[in-house]
């Protein structure tokens, strides 16, 4: 197993998702897992009204993008994401980077770097 793998996890506002996806595609990232999540951090929530009920909502809908990279440096991914997502305000989100032990593609049993690449 050659090289190291990293998982980059980006949690951010869903409003910039399409831009982020395009930018990641441009640096050669074609695979990702995306989930709708709820979360709270520094950002204050907003008020919602349901008839007589006024609620402070602080769990906000966010989007979580998970990418596993090997050949593409994590710094490039982070820079790209920051460029697209940065507004300077609370609520821009966070990026987490993890080590990944191994990758196995289920369809052909390829492992490690091969599992990330498709045969051209």
């Amino acid at each position: 197993m050659e090289g190291k793998f990293y998982k980059v996890e980006i949690i951010t506002s869903s409003s910039k998702f399409e831009e982020l996806k395009d930018a990641l595609n441009e640096i050669g990232i074609s695979g990702m897992t995306v989930s709708n999540v709820l979360g709270c951090g520094m950002q204050k929530g907003h008020k919602e009204f349901y008839r007589g009920l006024a609620l402070d909502i602080n769990l906000l809908p966010k989007i979580k993008v998970e990418i596993v990279v090997c050949d593409i440096p994590t710094e490039l991914v982070v820079e790209t994401a920051k460029k697209v997502l940065h507004t300077g305000k609370m609520g821009d989100g966070k990026i987490f980077i993890y080590d990944v032990k191994n990758i196995i593609r289920i369809s052909n049993g390829a492992e490690g770097r091969d599992a990330l690449r498709y045969n051209k």
Partner: protein, 411 residues
């Protein structure tokens, strides 16, 4: 005399089907406002009313409401088991349509009325207890009140009360009973965190209610005539005015118009015009709906929050408050020029009608409240009315009915 008129009959068949659709509409309207774990339980309440009240009605309900008068209080067993209810009109009620059709039309009102109450006890009442409750309530509360107000010889009808399409019989009776039921059952847990799970569903339900209400109000003329069309127009105008009034209240207090507010204002407007639909002018209906919307807004945003009762989906806030206002408004705006069978109201110089409408309100409110309280208290001696704390947290769909609305991970 007593000849069936084909046009009137076709119209009331259509109106009956329209009113029937209101109960599934109510199920959607309510279903969207509860949490996803309780949407089936609240939906089932409406469908249970369709099943239980339908049978109750053909067996004894119709005759208790519209059988031969006994002491101004209730009908006798003249039509027990719907015997003698056939193609021949009953001239006491509708001289040009078959009595069997009149019975069916009235059935649809009897169904939706207890279904409205489910909005106040949502997300916490046992299904079995609710089923028993609506059966008892239909016999003990609905049937007598319908007889008082609409039955030939009923004491409120003799007094001269005007209730065109059920402002008293349907709206006040269910709205007040809903409030009492909410108080008896108590509040839901974690009340301040509960939000609707599917507002588009509620909006669709509200639209179906508006649609069905044309049958409810215009159909209550029981014939195709100027009164029916006047009721059609006043119904539509009042719903529209209710929406606008509620929205203005929202803008004034929080600067945002909500879709749930639009649905609520609409229902408030429709409720408010129900007793007067065939007695007041289209211009008056705009005022009635607008004031109805404002009063209901005040009821659910100020009164309910201050007093802290858990009328979960505002059955009292919309139907009780709107119905009471509608009863008074009919006393103010009714006009003999609109409906010669009616009476002139306050603005035409007859202050007496307001008094009669108020007496009927007091009677309906007191009777519904006391009887609902007694029914629930006696039932409570034999069965538990409320689910356990664990069942409530798990959600009634799974704990009471063993199914999920938006099932697990199945794809």
């Amino acid at each position: 005399m007593n000849a069936v008129n084909a046009a009137d009959t076709s119209f009331i068949i259509f109106a009956t089907a329209l009113v029937m659709l209101m109960t599934p509409g109510l199920a959607l309207f309510y279903g969207g406002m509860v949490r996803r774990k309780n949407v089936l339980s609240i939906t089932i309440h409406s469908y249970a009313a369709m099943a239980i009240v339908s049978i109750q009605w053909v067996l004894i309900g119709y005759t208790l409401c519209f059988g031969k008068d006994f002491a101004g209080f209730i009908g006798d067993f003249q039509f027990l088991g719907s015997q003698g209810v056939g193609f021949l009109p009953n001239a006491n009620y509708a001289a040009t349509i078959p009595q069997s059709l009149f019975m069916l039309f009235q059935l649809m009102f009897a169904i939706i009325t207890p279904a409205i109450i489910s909005g106040a006890i949502a997300e916490r009442m046992k299904f079995f207890a609710f089923s028993v409750f609506i059966l008892l309530w239909s016999i003990i509360v609905y049937d007598p009140i319908a007889h008082w107000v609409w039955g030939y010889g009923g004491w409120l009808k003799n007094l001269g009360v005007l209730d065109f399409a059920g402002g008293y019989v349907v709206e006040i009776s269910s709205g007040i009973s809903a409030l009492v039921a909410a108080l008896v059952l108590g509040r839901r847990k974690k009340l301040k965190t509960i939000t609707p799970h599917n507002i588009p569903m509620t909006m669709l339900g509200a639209g179906i209610l508006w649609f069905g209400w044309f049958g409810f109000n215009a159909g209550s003329a029981l014939a195709i005539n100027g009164v029916a069309l006047n009721a059609f127009i006043t119904t539509n105008s009042s719903a529209a005015a209710g929406i606008i009034a509620w929205s203005i209240c929202e803008i004034a207090s929080r600067r945002k118009v909500t879709s749930l507010g639009i649905a609520s204002g609409m229902v408030a407007g429709l409720v408010a015009i129900t007793p007067g639909a065939g007695f007041v002018s289209p211009l008056a209906s705009i005022l009635i709906g607008g004031i109805g919307g404002m009063l209901s807004f005040f009821g659910v945003t100020v009164v309910k929050q201050k007093l802290g009762y858990d009328d979960s989906l505002d059955a009292f806030g919309c139907h009780g408050i709107g119905g009471i206002w509608g009863g008074i408004a009919t006393g103010i705006f009714a006009s003999k020029a609109i409906n010669s069978a009616g009476t002139n109201g306050l603005i035409y110089g007859n202050i007496k009608l307001v008094g009669i409408q108020l007496i009927a309100i007091v009677a309906t409110v007191a009777y519904s409240a006391v009887m609902t309280f007694i029914i629930l208290k006696i039932m409570g001696k034999f069965m538990s009315l409320r689910v356990t704390s664990e069942e409530e947290m798990e959600g009634l769909d799974v704990s009471l009915h063993g199914e999920e609305a938006y099932g697990g991970t199945s794809v």
